[in-house]
């Protein structure tokens, strides 16, 4: 009796219990929404609609059944969902599980390379290198496309750490296409650009501005600001000179414009060094963003 009552209560309280209500009897009799097949179908539909968060939930629901077929593919798909959501740590976890679960096949190799890519996106360089090395060692028969991808990821790893020569060495591998407008060529260009990145000297900018007001700014490629500073400082200095010349040391005009000229001059020297710092940082950041964009392109599974 207790068991019957317990079953009845569970039927009312659980979501499946909703199916017992009269209104939805017709639909539930025809279709089980939560069967593994239908959950997977719905998950794929959500993926196609770019609703990655919901798709991930459905894939995880599918995986709650330990005996559901094709677990490796669903784990891989789950990794892709998290990659699209820019959550690289869970993506790496699921790619790893997909690689572990899959039998020896091209698909398993793909999942392993995807795992390596996700590690790189998570900025886990050491783990990425370890994985890439073990992939090369354990699967010497990686397909050419995957080998190229792995080499490209290795080179990006070096580029991210501003190691231009090691990156160029990897990009010189005979497996990689040599000429033409290829994604690999973009990586080579980035490495070359990194080697010859223009960097200016802050000390030189400061000295230039001390000698000629505004010249430090022109050196930092802020020409208009440099010229303007030159005019302001020399103008104020001239007015100060006029004041002292006409009224002597007690001239208020001399002291006013003289102080202004001095403060502006010191400000210009300081500003020139900052302008050079900003210029250098701008160059580095542009390159870093280009490298990051390459990484995303190469990890686009």
């Amino acid at each position: 009796m207790n068991k019957i009552l317990a079953a009845f209560a569970l039927a009312i309280l659980a979501p499946a219990g909703e199916a017992l209500t009269q209104d939805s009897l017709a639909t539930s009799a025809a279709l089980d929404y939560y069967s593994p097949v239908n959950v997977l179908k719905f998950g794929h539909f959500l993926w196609q609609q770019n609703d990655y968060q919901r798709a991930a939930v459905e894939y995880q629901r599918y995986l709650t059944d330990d005996f559901a077929p094709g677990r490796d593919r669903v784990l891989y798909q789950l990794g892709r969902c998290y990659l699209k959501l820019s959550q690289t740590e869970p993506a790496a976890k699921y790619f790893y599980q997909a690689a572990r679960t899959a039998p020896v096949s091209v698909f398993r190799d793909s999942a392993s390379v995807a795992y390596a890519g996700a590690l790189l996106l998570s900025k886990r360089d050491a783990a990425f290198l370890q994985t890439a090395d073990s992939l090369n060692a354990s699967t010497p028969t990686l397909s050419p496309a995957l080998q190229i991808q792995l080499l490209a990821l290795r080179s990006v790893s070096h580029l991210q750490r501003a190691q231009w020569d090691p990156a160029l060495k990897i990009l010189a591998n005979p497996l990689l296409p040599e000429a033409g407008e290829t994604p690999v060529a973009s990586l080579r260009q980035l490495a070359e650009r990194g080697k010859t990145l223009p960097q200016k000297s802050r000390l030189l900018a400061g000295v230039m501005s001390t000698l000629v007001p505004g010249s430090g700014k022109i050196y930092a490629r802020e020409t208009a600001d440099g010229l303007y500073s030159f005019i302001i400082i020399t103008g104020a200095s001239w007015l100060a000179y006029e004041g002292f010349r006409d009224h002597g040391i007690s001239s208020y005009k001399g002291w006013l414009f003289g102080s202004a000229a001095a403060v502006f001059h010191l400000g210009n020297i300081y500003g020139s060094t900052i302008a050079v710092r900003l210029y250098n940082e701008r160059q580095q950041e542009k390159l870093a963003r280009a490298v990051a964009a390459q990484l995303v392109a190469w990890v686009n599974f």
Binding site: P15, E18, D23, T27, L31, Y33, N38, F42, R54
Partner: protein, 280 residues
């Protein structure tokens, strides 16, 4: 779908969305599909996803649905468009609803919303006309009084939209710096403008008097002209601010009356519930 409804009622809007989408994926041609899209729209509105909510409610309106629900669907769409501050599209939907359901509850509610929308768009004459129509249909004395007060306030806004003219303020400040600000009621700013312009003018006059022509030119060009032009601009701004405060004050009174009037209108629910739906 009942499960989805329970999730919605429990406040789990995101979870309810998943279940409504699941229903729609497996039954895209179901006779209750309009209800699913409608609830999707409501859930998305709860999550402040206004663009998505509008899209879903449009799809609900486009589905096959009994007439009695079509008006309520359109009403919800109009309400969501207003919440999104998309007044032009909301106006279109309300207009359609008022025309097609002039005697029904949804049509009446739409007329009220239309009046509110016209207030938001500062279209006083049309808003007055709408509230006059509502007053003709009013059944209680209190409601008639509230609507009359709203119309009186709108009349005030219509005939006297501005207390202070920005153009006049600017002109006054052209002749006497600071006088425009005084006219607009900003006395300290007016005094400030007067003092600054007087000071710059005095310095310029002294330079000219001492035959320092270069200094005179610099003072006029770099100092006096900036403050003089600034004084004219700020005078107009002061008048605009005064007018804005005046309008806001009147509008606050109108909104309070409107809310009071709304309490006296019929309490019929405009929501579509699962229990309202016919068996497919």
């Amino acid at each position: 779908m009942r499960f989805a409804d329970r999730l919605y009622l429990a406040g789990s809007y995101d979870a309810s969305l998943t279940e409504y989408w699941r229903f729609l994926f497996f039954h895209p041609e179901h006779p209750h599909a309009f209800y699913a899209y409608y609830k999707v729209g409501l859930a998305q509105a709860q999550l402040q996803e206004w663009d998505a909510a509008v899209l879903s409610l449009r799809r609900a309106v486009q589905q096959e649905a009994p007439n009695e629900f079509r008006h309520r669907l359109r009403y919800q769409l109009a309400l969501t468009l207003m919440a999104k501050n998309d007044f032009d599209l909301a106006r279109l939907e309300l207009f359609k609803l008022i025309r097609t359901d002039s005697a029904g509850h949804a049509g009446e509610a739409a007329t009220w919303l239309y009046g509110l929308l016209l207030l938001y768009q500062k279209n006083w004459p049309e808003a007055q006309a709408v509230f006059a129509r509502l007053q003709q249909r009013a059944v209680s004395v209190e409601l008639t009084d509230d609507l009359q007060q709203i119309m009186d306030l709108l009349q005030l806004l219509k005939t006297q939209p501005e207390r202070k003219s920005p153009r006049l303020a600017r002109r006054l400040s052209t002749f006497i710096p600071g006088s425009g600000q005084f006219y607009a009621g900003h006395f300290l700013k007016g005094l400030n403008a007067l003092a600054l312009n007087a000071g710059a003018g005095y310095l310029a006059w002294r330079a000219l008097d001492e035959d320092r022509r270069r200094d005179f030119a610099l003072i006029v060009l770099l100092l006096w002209s900036r403050y003089y032009q600034g004084n004219r601009l700020h005078a107009a701004e002061a008048a605009i601010r005064t007018n804005q405060r005046y309008q806001e004050n009147l509008l606050t009174q109108i909104y309070a009356r409107l809310q009071q009037a709304g309490r006296q209108v019929s309490n019929t629910s405009l929501r579509i519930e699962w229990s309202d739906l016919p068996t497919p």
